[in-house]
Amino acid sequence: MKRFIEPNELARDSRFIRQDNAMATVLASMPDDVDAIVAAFEQFSPMIEESVRGTAAEELFEAYGPAFTLVVLNEPLDPDSAAATMRLILRMHGIFVGELQALEGAARSLWDFPDAPWEFKMNMARQCWDEGRHVQIFEKLLEHLGGHVGMFPESTFLFEAACSDDPAMRVAGVNRGLEGLACDVFRDMIRYAEKTGDEVMQQAVDYVLADEITHVRFGSEWVKEFTKGDPEHLKKTQDFRREVDKQFSFGGSRSDREDAAIPIAWEDRKEAGFSEEELKDLAAVSAEGPSKETLTQAAQILRDRFHAKRSGEGAPS
């Protein structure tokens, strides 16, 4: 068995539909410019349409056009908003596949770095069990909400962005970048569940968040250990994590901005070993994306153009 695999080698059963990672990458690095965002989405429109065909997202695509992800990602999840349940299920599905990729990332660290210290292997092995349970938990929560596995396409963007071939960068990307994002998302989900009085979801996600803090802590400790006595390696690793964090901020959707859909879970992250300085840095990095106003305008233009095109197609020539 070889060391290091490509994201397209992640094996899935026939329920899963894969989405091109290019879209997520573009979305993660968009400028604060309405025209640029419209142009990017129009370019990806056929790809997006193709990837949602036959999935539950087709409905969202038909309603909002290619920019439906903007609506889904950038509006805070609110039980009273339109299509709230579908958007919640979409997010839950995203978390489910995120957990799968976190499981795969942690497990590959065992095989990809055979000479790593034993304590590192112990931590990664423990994470394998935890992420395996998280996959099981989120599959159940998905069903609890009326959804099912494979109802939305999966991008392997998280695995691709986080899984470096360097052990320090791998733990920085997976255990601090990806798991840190998980902390933010789960804190937000707990808030949502409290609001709706969903005790099943509230308690389950609360336990998962406790596990994730432990995983971030593994990352915090191993980045230090792997870069000990090598400030240049440490700097490279921090730069890599910053890049991952920027991508995982989805153009400011996850940030400390007032209009963020997913706020940074400041307290949870501190408990997991992020320093105040790192958190301020994360807040700065994640706020760099387009403003909510820009995104709303872009989404509106894209929706109008999409519907105009659709009705044009339907009109007799």
């Binding site: 068995m1 080698e9 094996a11 499981l103 497990a107 292997k121 423990r126 394998c128 395996g132």
Partner: protein, 227 residues
Amino acid sequence: MSERMYPGMSPDERTTFAPYSAFDIPADLRQLHGRYDVASVAKRVRNFRYAEEWMMMIMGGWVATVPEVPVKTGIGKVIWEGAQAADEFGKRLPELRCGRKAVEASEASNDGFASFVQAVAEPETPDLTIEKLVGIFDVLKPHMVEIYETTMRETDQISDAPTIEILETVVRKTRRHIAWGQEVLDRLCDTEALRERRRARADELSERLAASGGVTGTLASDRGQLN
């Protein structure tokens, strides 16, 4: 109060409690002297640690390349319990005069066993879940249980009790892994052709395993001891 609670200074000032040997309650039927001395138990433990560590790493490599979700999640737990087993074996080594640094010492019994382990690790693509699982759950783990149990039976029951305690836990969990893995394989191999694939892989690997002498390299004499 004429009964004495505490012995006095002279022979006729004994207590009135009934005499028992140290081993009478409950009766201790264990006998001193086992088949292995300190050095050979230490070697066995290093061999066990080698197998558990490699099984865990190999399954870590497979999680991403098996398409069946319950196999991914199930393996996650087996990985963690394998790591705990390797960890316990490692912690036993300094107690067996291997030095404090020995906690990370793994050692293959011989090149044949090391190359057998690499053969177990070989299957890679998503269409080979059967071949992957057979190596661990039909061949290597059942072999480990056999050797663990031989060791528990044959080692000094009193002097080497700490090793026995570790093995008891590892065996209990390994049996659970085998039951799970074989149930998964039974489900996956639902045609005669697939069952044949399972058998062929198991036969091939079992042969290599036996030729190597197994995890401790002493399979022939271990089995001879039983007869």
